[in-house]
Amino acid sequence: MTGMTVIVKTVTRWVKVFIFLYGVYIVITGHLTPGGGFAGGVIIACSYILLTLAYGKEFALKRLGPRTAAGLDSGGSLLFLIVALLGIGSGGLFFTNFLQKRYPGGEFQLASAGFIPIANIAIGLKVFSCLFLVFIILSILRIVLDAEGKQSLVQRWPEGKEE
């Protein structure tokens, strides 16, 4: 996928940082304002998709390749599961909000509500890398499995046949 015109590239260069920062803001203050992990994760994925559409595939794949995205996906899920399992250690039940019981922060502050910000960050990481990985596989790359069972990633449309 080649990039777009100069106007789109210039606007993207200025705007993509703000979209990314807005997504991170929605993830982090998910326990105080509307939003949370899901909304912020999808918005961060949108900023990376904008980068891919405006600049072409090589530029975006250098920033965040498919193996890194798969690793972040698994890492986010594991972090969420670990936070849930740690509740068993103190309190006795799965998913107990152990941080809230030990160190209750003030109300309406950023560092409050126990492990809810940590869980929001884990979910945001997972949703963002998940959606970007699917976008890459649907339209840019293709997984090829050759005779020995080894996997490799080749381009979906070779250079001669762009649409």
Partner: protein, 115 residues
């Protein structure tokens, strides 16, 4: 009246998923059904002249309790929307794979060609 219109939207999506021959149109029908179901669940939890279930420094708790909308359907629909995106992208992956194997998006052609 609102519930009936939402159900009519769901049935439009169902009609599209049942009678169309193009696989992409079938996926569009599934997406319409999913939007309609999420809207219906939130319609059930609305309170007249309600406020959003988000506390502020200046809300009075008794007044908030009497006026807020139901937070439980909102929490469940939040995850349902993102799951719907994942499942629809799986359906789109199926469409792409069928196109690569058979060269067409038409369901009736796919039944006739063998492998």
């Amino acid at each position: 009246m609102v519930y009936t219109l939402c159900f009519a939207l769901f049935l439009t999506g169902l009609y599209c998923a049942l009678t169309k021959k193009n696989t992409v149109k079938i996926v569009i029908g599934l997406a319409i059904m999913e939007y309609a179901v999420n809207l219906f669940l939130i319609l059930l939890g609305y309170r007249r002249n309600g406020v959003a279930p988000i506390l502020d420094r200046s809300t009075d708790l008794a007044d908030f309790l009497a006026r807020s909308v139901d937070p439980l359907p909102q929490a469940l629909v939040l995850t349902a929307i993102v799951i719907g995106l994942g499942v629809t992208s799986l359906a789109v992956a199926l469409c792409i794979r069928l196109y690569e194997k058979y060269g067409t998006f038409d369901v009736t052609q796919i039944r006739r060609l063998k492998g």
